[in-house]
Subunit: 253 residues, 2 copies
Amino acid sequence: MQNTLSAAVLLIGNELLSGSIQDLNLSHIATRLEERGIRVRETRIVPDIEEDIVDAIDALRTRFQYVFTTGGIGPTHDDITSDSIAKAFGVPNVIQQDVFDSMKAYLDSKGAEFTPAAQRMAYAPEGAEMIYAQQSMIPGYRIGNVYVMAGVPRIMQIMLGGIIEQLDTGVAIVNKKIHANVSEGEIAAALEIIQNQHPDIDIGSYPQDKGSTLSDYRVVFMVKGTDEQDVDATCSEILDACSAGEFDAILAD
Amino acid sequence: MQNTLSAAVLLIGNELLSGSIQDLNLSHIATRLEERGIRVRETRIVPDIEEDIVDAIDALRTRFQYVFTTGGIGPTHDDITSDSIAKAFGVPNVIQQDVFDSMKAYLDSKGAEFTPAAQRMAYAPEGAEMIYAQQSMIPGYRIGNVYVMAGVPRIMQIMLGGIIEQLDTGVAIVNKKIHANVSEGEIAAALEIIQNQHPDIDIGSYPQDKGSTLSDYRVVFMVKGTDEQDVDATCSEILDACSAGEFDAILAD
C-alpha cells in the first residue's frame, strides 16, 4: 500500500504467548495507527526472557519505522522489559529522578511504603523520554523509535493517546468490510480479477466458521487502501460479483 | 523450564495483524502442546506477503523444534502460504495427485466445477506429508519441522488432533492459577523471594484492569512447572504470603 508508514508491535509476557491471557492491545494499537497512515507489518509475542526481548527489539527496530511494546514494566520479578530494552540499546537502565520523586510523594501522601520493588519502576534506559499516563504512577517511555507501554489495556490506551499526535503521518488507510454468503472457492476467480484491476487495494478474504457465530455469512472480505474512491469502487465490484453468482452480500457497518 | 521441547507459532494474515480478525488458534495450540511438554516460545503474526512469510519461517524453523502455522491455505488470491513455504524450503510447490483426485471426485459428485482457484489448494511443497482433516477437502501438511494448518479454528483443531500424537514428548507442564486482591507493588518483594526459592518454576504476575471484568481480584498469578509437587508448594507459599499481608487470594479453577 502506497504512502503508508510501517510499525511492528511486540507483546511481552509468558501468558500472552501461551494464550492464557488474551491480548487486548494489538487491535487497539493497529486501529489507532491506521488512522494515521501507519501500518502494523509484524507482531511478535515473546516470553519474559531477556535474550528473547533483546533479539526481538533489535530485529524490529531496524526494519520498521516504529516499534510499540506492551507489558513487563510493573514491579514484579517477571517485569524485565526495561532491563532488556536498555540492553538492546547498549545503555544502562537508570533511575528517572522525576518519576522517583513523584512516586515517593504519592506514596508518602498515602502513608504507603516505597518498596525496592516499586522503586524499580522508576528506572528506564538512559536517554529515554517518559510517556506519562494520568491514571498510572508508572510512565512508559520512548527510546529511539521504540515506544514502551504498559500491558494493562486502559493504561496502554492512555499512553498511546499521549504520543499518537507526535508520530509521523502517512496517508490514512480506509477500511471497508463485506459479509457474503458464498464459499471462498465459488468467488476466488472473480476476486482475483478484481484484485488485479485494483493493484493498490488490499482485498483480504476470511472464511467464517459456521456455528461459531450467530450470523449466516460464510466469508468476510476486507478491503483496504489509501484512496477512498478506489476502495469504494472495489467494494462495488465485489458486491456485483456476488450478486452475479446469486450470492447474498452486504457492506458491513 | 527443564525437559520441555520448544515450538513457535506463525499466524498468517493481514487482518490478524491489524486485529480486525481475532486470533482463536494460539491459545488452543499452546494448550495442546503444553500437555505434551512442548512449550510455545515465540509467536509471530505476519501479513500475506511472501517475503515476510519466508523470512519468518526461516527464522523460526532453525531456532525451535517445531513450527506451527495457521492461515493462508485456501483458494483465494491472498492465500500464498504454500508458495511461501515452498520458497523457504527451496523446493517447488507441486500438485498432490491424491488430493487433486479426491477433490475432483468430491466436486464431481456434487456437480460442482473444479475451478483453477480450487485446484491451487491441491498444491503443496515437494516432499510435504499431508495432514488430512475429515471435515475439510483441503489438507494441511508437514515439511521438515514445519506444520501448515488451516486458519479456520474448527479445521485447525482437527488437523492438530491428527498430528499431536506424532510429536516428540517433553515432560508435561503443570499450570495453576491464583486470583488475589492485592496490587503487584504490595506483593512483589514476597513474590521474588518465592521465585528465588523455586528456580524451576515460572511465576507470572498479571495485573487485572478493574472495571474490565466482573470479578474483584486485582492480580492473577500463573504458576507453571514440570514438577507438580514443586508447583503446589509454590502456590501454597504465594497464598500464605497474601494471607500474611491480609490480602484475599484463592486458587482458581
